[in-house]
Homo-oligomer: 265 residues x 4
């Protein structure tokens, strides 16, 4: 049971300068807190609620920026992929390829991602039970890839609402793969603002704390210098200035949680 | 308010002979019942619960068979697409391209499908509220395509269970697009058999009758000569021999429903 | 399979004159439509969302009014009971005692109601699966009472929302007891207006039509001369003037449904 | 923010000796752990899934036993009430009267309980949103009673399943009343065994840890020397021998949680 890992960054890559600023701030924060950090950003938001939503800088522009973050800051980077073609290209730079929740059962995408040899982080679909993720992981394992992460990001609960079932975390952990809690997407209100997804960032620390107390391997937290003006997921993202206090309490809870591991066997 | 349309056929295309046999049987049944028929089959099941699930004959083999069905039987055909690339190819033969529920928010796929000019049938995601389908339809409409169908196939309701909210049908109809009830997928128990999705075909007529009484434009019913031995969706599909009785009652309910249209405005 | 029965009336008894006016209007409407009618009203709303909600005239004042409705109009009457003590008293006049949904698992109440010999209509709790109603019915059957009705009124679906699973109707019917669709409570938004329950009466006909097309024994529809100014359940109740058109389409659907009975065995 | 309180005991009072044995064992455990303890047991299980379920010793027999526990062990005691009449009687001995979840909107019961002046612990209904508990608390507050506890015990999530939304804990805390996490009822599978409720006690520590990490005032844990042979809630109750380890980790998490209070304002 290794110490908690933090996957963090702004929802979408907005520009080279914005990305470097965020990555540097997170690196400093993580170093001070003594937490391992993976930098996250999306080059494309492929499933926005409405056509008018901004989609990001695109794969071509994003890769050199990710490369610069890796070279200058020494941070591993994570980004999400939406097609088989993107897997090979993104894996040239990204350490972790992420499969979006809506796509978590698309066999060809899982297999293409797995074949790159990158770490594959699959988000559990909002429509999936936690035990169903064993079949999802098996699709990746079939490629010989042995580095899989499984991420909880909430389940459908009525309309425009997600709920996180904390029992799902140890259930997914029975696969043997590390389990990550995505605390900021789990507080989304999907489609809840008519033409975009709403959410409530005040509850992201609530879910992160709960998950860490159970002993998750990592937390995924989207954060932004100015979330209220971010092009996507603004209602959910944590303000960068609030990250140190959040990480501090999570680290303390993690130390206790890892000393008293949960067992459901 | 036009009379009810039937979209029917086996879940996946199994072989040329199997497809022709099903299509002919359905054509005769539909002619006797006086119902318009669209023949449905998938060339690829791209999101099976587990890797071991059979996926179908593939696009290359399927297209000539669809072409033969159109030529010999005069039936319009519907098939589903999973990537942008498949849209153009499938649209050369298929009259209706269907967007799977899990993919209903993938902007590029919706736009690529819309651009083909084919009729586009989008299944509502299990994670989506009915009012959110207006944004989905708008992505297709942005291409200038003005032939869209919206299909209900159940919403996530706890784990491994779907529920169909009949209020969603008139809500989706407010977009102005015809609404289809997919009665056989709505009775799925997703992932409910561990390595495959379960379901209960006995309830498909229940949901079909309910939806028709509200005045839907069409019903989508997967059917098979021997559903218990079908390679996918067997637990949900209606036996071919039970189709005439189902269609008979649906036609009678439809006549009443269309004479007394529901209005929620 | 007998023809459809209608249980209708204003949510709560407001006064003697109001009750007589409603009952007379409903009697005339039912006679013209040729549908059997049971008059419904509550003497006490014992579980209002907030303490400020009006509760009704009380049992003492209600009983003579119910007696007058029975004597003058010849209508059977239904009212709900909340304690064991109320059962015996209410049964002196009421033909049908109704167990509220929240109380559907209170053993002593079910047994006390059953012992009166009145017809007992139990509403399925918003927290109950349809198959669980067999245990509820058995508590009443244990008293020797052999006149039980089971009513669907929606299941919890996320927060402040109900959904009606049409599969539940034939599932409950397997008990052998007649199944009623409560179309107006099923469109409630419980607690949805902060200090009171919201709802949307436009969808009550949607659910009623769907249920009748499946073959329910009866529909339960709260109605009011002026629902927007009713003391409770105003958002859900159907305007009295809209009842004839609703009953007309339900009768037509019922004739078809009863000719083609659903079987899930 | 006071340290964590533990409400614990067997689901139902089985006999005087059984109760004393449980209470003594819990008192010793709590003293060693340094946690405040309230002893919990039900004298009557009034809403068993089926009529055949055992209901407990009854109020008359239970009160002297509760009195003995208070006198000999100095423990405050909690029991649940189901009717207005029981409130006054139970409050002669019980320090805390508990309102069962199904009954949490029954105005007369809440008011009768509040009037006793006892501490009132209301369980949130499985059908209620956390923000709706403000109206419930207000019914008690209307009596002048200023000692209210609000307890989370899971919300309906599909059929025969509950889910605990951790966001509900701070939402309920906004009322100003202490919030308790009922970890063992929240893992129930209501009606899940046909004639009784199932559940899975392995997840009770998961939910307790999560809730404590957020900063709840107390945890409610039913426990039993031999849960697999208990007359009710056996599948959920924690074995008495497993309580010390659970309490130890909860106390450590609580110390961290209370040092870093969650704020959602």
């Amino acid at each position: 049971d290794l110490p908690l890992v933090l996957i963090a960054g702004p929802c979408q890559m907005e520009s080279r300068d914005h990305a470097m600023e965020c990555a540097e701030a997170l690196k400093i924060m993580a170093a001070e807190a003594g937490i391992a950090l993976i930098y996250k950003s999306s080059f494309d938001k492929a499933n926005r609620t409405s056509l008018a939503g901004q989609r990001g800088v695109g794969l071509d522009k994003a890769l050199p920026i990710f490369a610069e973050i890796k070279a200058k800051l020494g941070l591993p980077v994570l980004t999400d992929v939406h097609t088989e073609e993107q897997c090979v290209i993104a894996a040239k730079v990204a350490d972790v390829l992420q499969i979006p929740a809506f796509l978590c059962r698309q066999t060809d995408l899982l297999v293409a991602a797995g074949r790159t040899g990158a770490v594959i982080n699959v988000k559990k679909g909002q429509f999936l039970a936690p035990w169903d993720m064993a079949n999802v992981a098996a699709k990746i394992e079939s490629t010989g890839n042995s580095r899989v992460l499984l991420t909880e990001r909430g389940a459908s609960f009525g309309y425009n609402t997600l709920v996180t079932d904390m029992r799902g975390l140890p259930i997914m952990a029975r696969t043997g793969w590390p389990v990550i809690m995505d605390a900021t997407h789990a507080v989304q209100a999907p489609g809840g603002q008519g033409n975009s997804s709403g959410g409530d960032r005040r509850f992201a620390p609530v879910l992160a704390r709960a998950a860490v107390a159970i002993g998750v391997a990592g937390v995924f937290v989207e954060c932004h210098p100015d979330p209220d003006h971010a092009p996507s997921d603004g209602p959910n993202m944590i303000a960068m200035k609030d990250m140190p206090a959040l990480v501090e309490v999570l680290m303390k809870l993690d130390a206790t949680a890892k000393s008293f591991p949960v067992s459901i066997d």
